[in-house]
Symmetry: C2
Subunit: 633 residues, 2 copies
């Protein structure tokens, strides 16, 4: 096996599988993801920069450089991380498609941030300078190592895209400082918000510094021992400081924290050949996905603590499903895939990308969802032009009081090419279907598709290794009647999992994958109380939803029933279903509970138009639901 | 009509109906509520006192008196209110049953608190003294007027129980200070946590100071205009500062805040003869009860913001149903009853008392529920002996980080007699059935009953007015086959609402009320997604629940189905039902959603033992549910 640098965000030390570099994949700007990359590059990056400039979050670095820090600095203690995530997004974008003007913006921002770095590598605008609390004085909530972790990830993105530049060196110096401060025998502490772990491992890989990985291992092992000072109204579980990582059986507490930690712990396990730790994380993934994950791939059932709920606690209306948790879930699944080659991981990545990550940004790339509920009872107020004080509201917002999601979307979309394919010792694996070109390991593949609107994926071989090799295509778990044809060969059925084509490929060879995109019903496990008696409709990788926008005038979304026994028909990218509108029985009692089983009356048929969930509220504020009660007949 | 002082907590200026004083009702210590009053007096009052002493919340007053205040004072900015609520509880308890030793404890505590009162009447341990922020410098979250409101209510309890003592005078001086500070032309502001409004009206009534009521009116009218500074992550709705009270149509935001405000606004409306305002509050009650209230009477669907949810958003598992919101709901309904005489209000009071207020304290009166969910998926950890850092946990806790509920339970239970009956211009009305004696308006009634375990209520006339008068009995909304018999008269059917017996009563007369206590099914409105396909069982005023404690070994509560077509049988205070245990279909997909409708298999019959919800977790941590999925056949 050979891997070529530059490469992608995750490069395990010991793996038969490697992801590609962002420059090895070009997505067509007309395709689903290429369009989003264009919007990200053309609008979101600048949008984030402007907001953070306007709010003074960038000037915080200038203030440190000028020695003018005060407690009244604008932004939360984790606002530095937003600048780092933006830098990471810019780094991937520059790696994907060099652009002199963006490079100049990037360099100028790096210079402003770099001017705030202390001589020993410490870099933070909320701690450790005159008038601010001392360094590491609030490990539970100070987010210093969390911020540093994002700085490291930005530096890694530069290394991975071929630039050992000032940002990369700032990251290296910051990582050195962390190791000096927190090594064995040093400050025996962890950060309340995991992130440094996953960042240190990748920094260790990128910079060839194994002690970074050892430091990450220390942070992972120190966790779960109740050492973080728990603030009033919080809990050790919130921080994953309740149970050591290798003893836990399911993810719990704050979802983004839990997922970042798991990604870091898995990286540590891989690079230290720790099968027990890797197995523990894989088991946690499995139980979390099986019992605490939404149909959209969203994770986090509770607004309180932005946290996971108990098993089967999956309310559609109060689903939190933070966009960042979607990003973090992709990060974790990607690592599990690279280590195992199991198709369940890219399956979940696809689900999460299309139904969480793609749901957050508006088409213009200038407003975002933070929480991604599966049911909106009341249409949100008109989109605000300003900062959304809450993570919710039913409409996308330009910016948030806590604004972690826009920059997380930006870095993920910019680096998305890296998740499209992988190489292993047999050849190349196409994991996600997006129109574009993939160049790796002697292969040049041209992927032509209008997926997910259409199910036809044509993979044209532009170049291939000269000896026999394997082209592996992922057949999604939902695709029960996929077919593959190579050139003029016979059409063969491809079961969910992998379709392997093994031959000595010639330029001009063509592999035709047909994925079934007929709308299909998805039934919840009977243990999920919140959506009992309902069904959802999916089409290919897309979860569909019903918006009040598409209902007859005067109809209320809570009065819709779907006829799950009648066939669904496909629309361009959604589906039509037969339903009825019901009139609820009038209130008989003072409470909404009665002695008789309530049977809605006065039903009339209605054609239900179901649209992709990721587009909801694009046509204005709307009530919305993914799970629709079924008619009882 | 005549009312006699001492009297109860609420005495509207213009009402044909008045509640009784706590000394006018004696509940037998063997009865449901008498037992709880005994436990409250014998354990809870001292328990609260000890905890607040231990935590330094009482010493905060000493520190003010000694001029030793610092920012590092223990307790939240609202901890003073807990001492005031405890004083109110003691005041009612002393009014109910004089006790020299309790009186000494009370006086000593009043002295310590009183020593902290400023010359101008201001009394607060977190603001307005050396080293603390200035008075009224944080109207949104400072809780100063909230604290003062509870001081006023404690003072009113003293007046209402015949003591115009130091505490009453402290309250009067504090009310004077509020009026001077916040009158028209003064500080044009409101408190983020309503409470001062309801307190000022009652203080105005108790002290005969109409300007207190005018001040309450000012606070009510100033609200809903967005003047409170909204903290990051909060909203104006949280504070009910989004819509003026008289324009709102439903309760929203923080539940306790919304209910206290409504009670105060209604009091203002009554005493100022403001029909529009009274009507607005009554409409808000109705829409809130019809669409945002749980079967238990609990209010507040969200842990986030301790708040109401949208219409039909009534998750059983994440129900917040704060104990204090139950107390506040009783306060509001009581005022609506006194003004209207409508039986729906005491109906909701009964439901809330038995299923929220009675659920909170343990039998020994030394631990409490804060939140009262209707579904606990995983048994809580063993009860802690210390402070519960969270409002949740599935087990009662001795004390909480925010510990508003224990003292709120204490003052409510101590004054509970006041809600048992009322007098009007026709005679006496028995509203709640509890063994004991009621003495008011020429009547002496001896109530003999084992309600709610048994449905027989015997009202013996010990004394009665000499002319014809009316004895009115409330027939609960759920009682569809109640009967009444007077002496040897014929048994008559009594429909839900009121049963009136009009005659010249003689000592020795006896009225026999039979309420039907057969267990019954309660079906949720079809618009409540969270409990679709389930049913609850009630018995008389009690909501029943299924605890994992009563399941066969190895059975999981999520696998229980109830057969809603088979008859329920009554137990001593619960019910038996036929059910089945199902084995869920094994996980076919990686997510808990599948292509086929999930049909649980391997069912086996099981006898379900349902117990009163208010007793749940008394036998140790347990999983629990009120709404049980029905068998689909």
């Amino acid at each position: 096996m050979s891997t070529s640098f530059p490469t992608g965000p995750v490069v395990p030390a010991t793996s038969t599988r490697q992801g590609l570099g962002v420059s090895e994949v070009s997505l067509d700007p007309s395709g689903f993801w290429g369009l989003r990359q264009a919007s990200n590059a053309g609008a979101t990056l600048q949008h984030c920069l402007e907001w953070m400039e306007r709010l003074g979050w960038i000037e915080n670095f200038d203030r440190v450089a000028r020695g003018e820090t005060t407690l009244s600095r604008p932004g939360w203690q984790f606002s530095d991380s937003e600048i780092y995530k933006l830098l990471e997004a810019m780094a991937w974008e520059l790696g994907r498609r060099p652009d002199a003007s963006l490079a100049a913006v990037f360099d100028a921002l790096v210079d402003r941030v770099g001017a705030a770095q202390d001589d020993d590598g410490y870099l933070n605008t909320a701690y450790g300078h005159a008038g601010l609390p001392p360094r590491y004085s609030d490990m539970a909530m100070g987010h210093e190592l969390y911020n540093t972790g994002h700085l490291l990830q930005a530096g890694v993105a530069r290394i991975r895209t071929g630039h050992d530049d000032r940002l990369a060196q700032m990251a290296r110096r910051a990582a050195d400082q962390v190791c000096e401060e927190f090594a064995d025998g040093g400050r025996d502490a962890i950060c309340g918000h995991p992130e440094i772990e996953v960042a240190l491992v990748e920094a260790g890989r990128a910079f060839g510094e194994h002690r970074y990985i050892e430091q990450a291992s220390l942070f992972v092992e120190r966790r779960g021992r109740g050492t973080l000072a728990v603030r009033p109204l919080l809990s050790a579980e919130y921080f994953q400081d309740d149970i050591p990582v290798r003893q836990a059986t399911v993810l719990r507490g704050h979802a983004v924290r839990a997922l970042y930690l798991s990604a870091g712990a898995f990286d540590v396990a891989i690079d230290t050949d720790d099968h027990a730790l890797a197995g523990a994380v894989a088991e946690q993934w499995q139980s979390t996905v099986a019992r605490r994950t939404y149909l959209t791939g969203g994770m986090g059932s509770r607004h309180q603590d932005e946290g996971f709920g108990d098993d089967w606690e999956l309310p559609a209306d109060r689903a939190y499903c933070e966009t960042c948790a979607g990003v973090a879930s992709v990060m974790l699944s990607w690592r599990l895939y690279l280590a195992t080659g199991d198709s369940r991981y890219p399956d979940l990545i696809e689900r999460t990308l299309f139904n969480v990550v793609a749901t957050s940004p508006s088409e213009d790339g200038r407003s975002f969802f933070y929480a991604n509920p599966l049911h909106q009872r009341e249409a949100g107020a008109s989109a605000s032009a300003g900062v959304n004080n809450r993570a919710e509201g039913g409409v996308r917002a330009p910016w948030f009081e806590v604004s972690c999601c826009p920059t997380n979307v930006a870095r993920t979309v910019a680096s998305l090419g890296a998740y499209v394919a992988a190489v292993d010792d047999q050849g190349i694996v196409v994991l996600q279907y997006a129109a574009g070109e993939i160049r790796a390991d002697g292969f040049v593949l041209r992927v032509e598709t209008r997926y997910p609107d259409e199910g036809t994926v044509r993979v044209r071989i532009i170049a291939a290794p000269e000896s026999e090799s394997r082209l592996r295509l992922r057949i999604p778990g939902w695709a029960d009647s996929a077919t593959v044809r190579v050139n003029a060969d016979q059409v063969t059925h491809a079961a969910p999992g992998w379709a392997d084509i093994r031959r000595t490929f010639e330029p001009g060879d063509e592999v035709l994958l047909e994925l079934p995109l007929a709308p299909r019903l998805s039934w919840p496990d009977v243990r999920i109380d919140a959506v009992r008696g309902t069904v959802a409709v999916e089409r290919g990788p897309l979860v569909l939803c019903l918006e009040s926008t598409d209902l007859p005038p005067g109809a209320r979304i809570e009065d819709v029933r779907i006829d799950s026994e009648l066939a669904l028909s496909a629309l361009a990218d959604g589906a039509n279903a037969r339903g009825i509108m019901v009139t609820p029985t009038p209130d008989a009692d003072i409470l909404p509970f009665g002695k008789a089983r309530s049977i809605p009356s006065h039903s009339r048929p209605v054609e239900l138009t179901l649209v992709p969930y990721h587009r909801w509220a694009e046509r204005g504020p709307a009530a919305m639901r993914i799970f629709i009660p079924v008619t009882s007949r």
